[in-house]
Assembly symmetry: C2
Homo-oligomer: 225 residues x 2
Amino acid sequence: MTSLDPTGRSLDDYPRPSVAVDTAVLTVARGALCVLLVRAPDAEPSLAWRLPGTFLHVGETLADAVTRSLRQKAGVADLHPQQLHVFDDPARDDRGRVLSVAHLAVVRADRVPARDGNRLVPVADVPALPFDHGAIIGFAVTALRERYRTAPDPSGLVDAAEPDGSFTLRELRLVHEAVAGHRLPPDAFRRTMRHHLTETGRTSTGRRGKPAELYRRRGGPSVPE
Amino acid sequence: MTSLDPTGRSLDDYPRPSVAVDTAVLTVARGALCVLLVRAPDAEPSLAWRLPGTFLHVGETLADAVTRSLRQKAGVADLHPQQLHVFDDPARDDRGRVLSVAHLAVVRADRVPARDGNRLVPVADVPALPFDHGAIIGFAVTALRERYRTAPDPSGLVDAAEPDGSFTLRELRLVHEAVAGHRLPPDAFRRTMRHHLTETGRTSTGRRGKPAELYRRRGGPSVPE
DNA sequence: CAAATAGTGTCTATAAGACACTATTGA
DNA sequence: TCAATAGTGTCTTATAGACACTATTTG
């Protein structure tokens, strides 16, 4: 800790910014892509709802800080956050110089506990948020849509009725439509996704029309769970 | 500066990491995609060459820090850095906890001054580098290749012989081939790029074969210069 | 049976790669 | 003339969207 940088000053001679992480937790609920907002207890009411975040502790990775903040502030566990962007406007936080490393996390809606301080809001209906939280959601939605453009449910959002996790192309398509924000042509969707799926040989039952083939992702989820 | 965060502690109570920026400056020189390495004066010889970087000053944006480091350490000006990724391994710097925000900057080779402490190295021949600098170059090359996949020279690397900045499809293709790292079929390249170009009505001259049409980018560069 | 859902066949438009071909210049 | 470069025509392949059609189930 005493070695010098090329200017001959030690690391301790520099004033340092605070580093925060803020995370857009995205999920699909009631057919819509939603983001998790949490209530900040001590904030003024109009800006009390915001993305979960925390300050980075020294010795901790960014992913660890994201995981810790989501566990403590929303009760959500086992996420695999992805970095999006560093927000660095010197005036973005009036408490001082704070950099925020924005993250995306994706989780099935049933793993977000219903709490007084949790809200799942459709991304189309997000209210004004403090700091850069609106922009962070924009980055997150863009990244998730890109991730879902070609691969079948890479983040495991399908809430399969089958105990073995297999799903029908309809269930898969409804998740992709929620992520994309618009309808997808069923025939083209089938032909595109089929290459990345394995047939189970079994069919779904109970629903109205013709029973549907059950599929599994080939090679498991892109983002491990 | 005295306001409190939700835990009731002020910002000053948290130990803070140092934040650095490190930049892969990419350019095309002698037909190859190259990265700029600079010599760190006080480092041990085997690891003296590295990416230009600096610590973020409080009150400064990341882009400003990148610009300052490139001006001071390499004499390169007027860049428009793009954030790539935050490297956050707690052990990545033995001087203490240092986060590095990796950046990409793109510049024509003739704007990199020839200096004793500057080296342009083809990205295929990059030696072992300290910290995460090898990984940063990987991120940068991937980002630049993606940027050049569909748009004609979005970062203005073509060194046009014409005074008005117009160029032939051959000149454009050679730059794209250097970025991609492999040859591109001339006819398909022409048909793809043509949609994004405006004819000037004039032709190049002086070279061996049939004179080539001169084109300009439609709507100017994607990254302003 | 009617409605709903699953799944296929096929036509069109588009784009990229391959390859042959013509056109125009300098050495 | 020959080599080099510019540019086009066209064939093949692949993919996405559109749309019609068949298949199978429940209400």
